[in-house]
């Protein structure tokens, strides 16, 4: 296997996946925010809420289409670029992807057309149901995708079949109720809700600063901040849940995120900041907070969290056991039904470490021929890049907490201060629009870069998973994706900005005249503007 090929394949996958995830979080959250707005419209009958539904719905549509389009790439790339992976784990991994299509994607895509085209063709309530079906469909999509991804992080409910030379499912429920998948699902969709809330809040803040569409903007902030506050809390709580599950499912990832080279006595301290050094195998200038890591990771004061050095030693042992499994497997493959029971037993005993033997394929064709030196190198390979993980994680968490603060403040102003906001807060609202995207991309980086050197943790190394393509193949498609995706991104951003600048353009007269007629009973019509009185002004 050429080294360059795997690296290029990874680059392409990372690029297309992260690009895809520019659109997904907004789809997840905005679909629900729009559905909430329409619910208010149907319950109160106030046209302003229909206008809001249509306006945010338009932006949702521009974003949704690229989410769908770039999602096709994701579905196909496993087969195109990761064919051995697809063969090796398709029996388990393919199922949630197909169920996603059957159960969720079909629903969301079928009804999204009716959402835009059905305003005059459906009753109010039927249209509202359609809006919710789109939102539910989007979120169920995320569930099944994360079940698939969760299995890559923590492969449960499956075992290796020597006859077919692949992993096969043994228990579907274990795959579905994988603790990693469940925690990741809520964490990810909550992050999507925060993204959409920040987006709605930011765009509305901009309108208020410009003095435009203030009625729409104030109500949008009210919805976005309440929804965003709940979501921001949920992101952090479920992020913590992910950390807890990683302490027993992906110990190496956790240790790398912490830059924790040596095993500390329980309870371990949390390294707030520091400079991890992979060569010296220590983290310089570290500032520790005692007990915190032990509490997050194990929820106890007595359990130990293993450091990187200890885990590398464990990997070394597992590689030896994996070689034994590989040897038995080759005998089974040759002799098939005639294989002695003792060989089968040896295989069964060591089969959970088979993947570790495959790590050696990078250095030697037949893992049985590997030298101790090569085994030590393969064991070292099990450590992902500590520095990038360490920092990506800390920036993500910092942003996560800042969203709670922002949402809390806006929620307070919207709920208890007459939907009036100080200008500095509105400016902040505009400035932080990109932040949730940064946090989400960093989150995926931590999850997937932290999974290296595996595509499926402990089961299949990344180096072995790629398709047998030529470098030229990869260069052509990589260049194609870069050009194509860049153009689409520019077009998308152009349209987004155009429609944000344009503002709500549907049902304008009807809404305005209704607002005038009912001014006496609207909270935003108490004679005061949308700005909080600022002492300095």
């Amino acid at each position: 296997m050429e080294f360059g090929l795997v690296e290029l394949s990874r680059l392409q996958f990372a690029m297309t996946a992260m690009y895809h995830f520019l659109f997904v979080p907004l789809t997840l959250g905005l679909s629900i925010i729009v559905a909430i707005m329409e619910t208010v419209y149907v319950m109160t009958g106030r046209p302003i809420w229909r206008q809001m539904t249509k306006f945010w719905g338009t932006l949702f549509g521009i974003n949704f289409v690229l989410g769908v389009a770039t999602g096709i790439t994701m579905e196909f790339q496993f087969g195109m670029n990761w064919s051995y992976y697809s063969h090796y784990v398709g029996d388990i991994f393919g199922a949630p992807l197909a169920i996603e299509g059957l159960m969720a994607f079909f629903m969301e895509a079928t009804f999204v057309g009716l959402f835009f085209f059905g305003w005059d063709k459906l009753s109010k309530v039927a249209h509202l149901v359609v809006a919710w079906l789109v939102a539910i469909g989007s979120n169920f999509s995320a569930l099944w995708i994360l079940i698939a991804n969760g299995w890559m992080q923590h492969p449960v409910g499956a075992e290796f079949n020597p006859d077919t030379m692949r992993m096969e499912m043994t228990n579907f429920f274990e795959v579905v109720f994988n603790e990693v998948a469940q925690a990741k699902f809520v964490h990810t969709v909550s992050a999507g809700y925060v993204t959409a809330a920040v987006f709605v809040l930011g765009v509305s803040s901009w309108y208020l600063l410009k003095g435009r569409h203030t009625e729409l903007a104030r109500r949008s902030i009210a919805i976005a901040s309440a929804f965003g506050l709940a979501a921001a809390l949920s992101v952090v709580v479920l992020g913590d849940e992910s950390g807890y599950s990683a302490s027993h499912t992906q110990k190496m990832k956790l240790a790398a995120i912490e830059g924790m080279w040596e095993t500390q006595d329980a309870p371990a301290s949390f390294t707030l900041v520091g400079i991890p050094d992979s060569d010296a195998r220590e983290t310089h200038y570290a500032i520790h907070i005692p007990y915190v890591m032990g509490l997050i990771g194990t929820r106890s004061l007595t359990q130990e969290i293993p450091g990187i050095d200890k885990l590398v030693a464990e990997a070394n042992e597992r590689i030896h056991s994996g070689i034994t499994a590989y040897d038995a497997l080759m005998t089974i493959r040759e002799q098939r039904d005639a294989t002695p029971a003792s060989v089968r037993a040896t295989f069964e005993e060591n089969s959970e470490n088979l993947g570790f033997a495959l790590l050696l394929k990078r250095y030697v064709d037949d893992p049985r021929q590997a030298t101790e030196e090569q085994i030590a190198m393969a064991a070292d390979d099990t450590v992902p890049g500590v520095g990038p993980l360490f920092w990506a994680f800390r920036i993500m968490v910092g942003l996560g907490f800042s969203f709670i603060a922002v949402m809390l403040y806006f929620f307070y102003r919207a709920s208890f201060r007459g939907m009036r906001f100080p200008r500095w807060a509105l400016r902040l609202g505009v400035v932080i629009i990109p932040a949730p995207w940064i946090a989400a991309e960093l989150g995926w980086f931590v999850a997937e870069f932290g999974r290296q050197p595996w595509t499926v943790d402990g089961v299949l190394p990344t180096a072995l998973s790629a398709s047998n393509l030529s470098i030229t193949d990869l260069l052509i498609t990589l260049a194609g994706f870069v050009i194509f995706y860049t153009v689409l991104f520019i077009v998308e951003m152009g349209l987004m900005l155009k429609y944000i600048k344009k503002g709500p353009y549907m049902d304008v007269e009807e809404t305005d005249s209704w607002m005038e007629r009912h001014a006496h009973r609207l909270r935003t019509h108490d004679g005061k503007g949308p700005f909080a009185a600022e002492p300095a002004e």
Partner: protein, 387 residues
């Protein structure tokens, strides 16, 4: 988890082979007219208004239709992992072309009308043309190659899929004469289907132009399909499994011995009833062509659907039990009996399909019912959210 033992592995494999066909046909029948309409767009709509009418006939439904394709990909991954692994990586650059075209299409639908500039809109019109015509052609080319077998093999030690040839040469190798003929079949058949759809959803000039082009496309499709059949009978080798066929063994293609030679048409001697598929193909297309000429609407679309169903099924039934034969190492060929998922996975997925496919059909039918009726220029003015 022992429930799955109640259905034999063999039965499950056949069911999933059928479901694979159902998904591909579902895709061709729904997304097929989207592709046809896209490819027809520059020719049936002369003014911007006309083109918008054409686009809005599929505007509300293309997203749902496209899911048939995505679901097809997902189902192949889940139920036939070796097929997914070998074909998607083997047809690498061709798949990339399809991907690019399929990404261009939704974006074109959604973004075209979002700016007024004529240049912007013309650009997207051609993007939609490419997004419709390229996949329609490539899918046929792919089927043409599958019938001839493709140059892949599985390594004996690890079952790693390998594909012979290099980047561009691999792509050019796919564009051989028989495959191109198959591409003509699929392109013209979907053009006819798109025309039948426009016949139903539009009126006036657009309708007339569509029906005219559709008539020609239908005739081309029938002739090309007949020629491809002749060619398959005379000039292309079939494949057979040698020795005893194990239908419930492990999914390891290398466990069975396969030889190349003889004719695919032997299937019609062994299972004469499958002749119904090509008959459906010809009758469906013939009736659709007549309908297009006479200006019939609903029945034409239904005949067109029947014709497409016949043509696609005829390929699957002729090849059964082969799914993807290998030219360089026939033993690596993928068949229904040795390239499926495990017994349990097939069973679980079948349960999901039993629950969700009827639901999907029901709500899709409801959506089409809500949207029933012609799309006119007035409709566009009345809905600010139309494309």
């Amino acid at each position: 988890m022992i429930l799955h033992e109640f259905m034999t592995f063999e039965v499950l494999r056949v069911i999933w082979w059928l479901l694979l066909g159902v998904l591909l046909i579902g895709f061709a029948l729904t997304d097929g007219f989207d592709m046809g309409v896209g490819a027809l767009l520059p020719f049936v709509g002369k003014t911007d208004k006309e083109r918008r009418v054409v686009i809005n006939t599929i505007g509300p439904v293309w997203e749902g239709n496209q899911v048939w394709f995505i679901l097809g990909g997902g189902a192949i991954f889940a139920a036939w992992p070796p097929l997914y692994a070998v074909s998607f990586s083997g047809f690498y650059l061709a798949m990339f072309l399809v991907l690019a075209a399929l990404i261009l299409r939704p974006v074109g639908f959604k973004y075209r009308s979002k700016r007024d500039s004529a240049k912007w809109r013309t650009t997207w019109d051609w993007a939609l043309f490419v997004g419709g015509a390229v996949p329609a052609l490539v899918f046929g080319v792919a089927v043409g190659n599958v019938l001839q077998g493709v140059p892949f093999y599985l390594t004996p030690d690890m079952l790693m899929p390998m594909y012979e040839g290099n980047a561009i040469m691999k792509l050019l190798g796919l564009l051989n004469p028989f495959a191109l003929l198959a591409g003509v079949v699929s392109l013209s058949m979907l053009l006819m289907h798109g025309a039948a759809w426009l016949g139903l959803k539009t009126e006036g000039f657009i309708q007339q132009r569509a029906q005219k082009i559709g008539t020609v496309a239908g005739i081309v499709a029938a002739v090309a399909y007949a020629l491809a059949g002749l060619w398959l009978a005379m000039g292309i080798d079939g494949y057979q499994i040698l020795g005893e066929v194990v239908k419930d063994g492990p999914s390891n293609p290398l466990y069975s011995e396969v030889s190349k030679g003889g004719s695919w048409m032997a299937a019609y001697a062994a299972r004469p009833w499958i002749v119904i598929a090509p008959i459906m193909g010809f009758v469906g297309i013939g009736m659709a062509v007549m309908g297009l000429r006479k200006g019939k609407e609903v029945s034409t679309l239904l005949w067109s659907k029947l014709g497409i169903t016949g043509i696609i099924s005829s390929v699957g039934l002729t090849m059964f039990p082969f799914i993807l034969p290998s030219t360089v190492d026939p033993n690596s060929s993928l068949t229904v009996w040795d390239s499926s998922s495990s017994h349990l996975t097939l069973f679980v997925m079948l349960l999901c399909a039993i629950i969700f496919v009827p639901l999907i059909l029901a709500y899709t039918a409801w959506v089409y019912k809500v949207l029933w009726g012609k799309v006119t220029e007035e409709d566009l003015d009345n809905n600010a959210q139309s494309y």
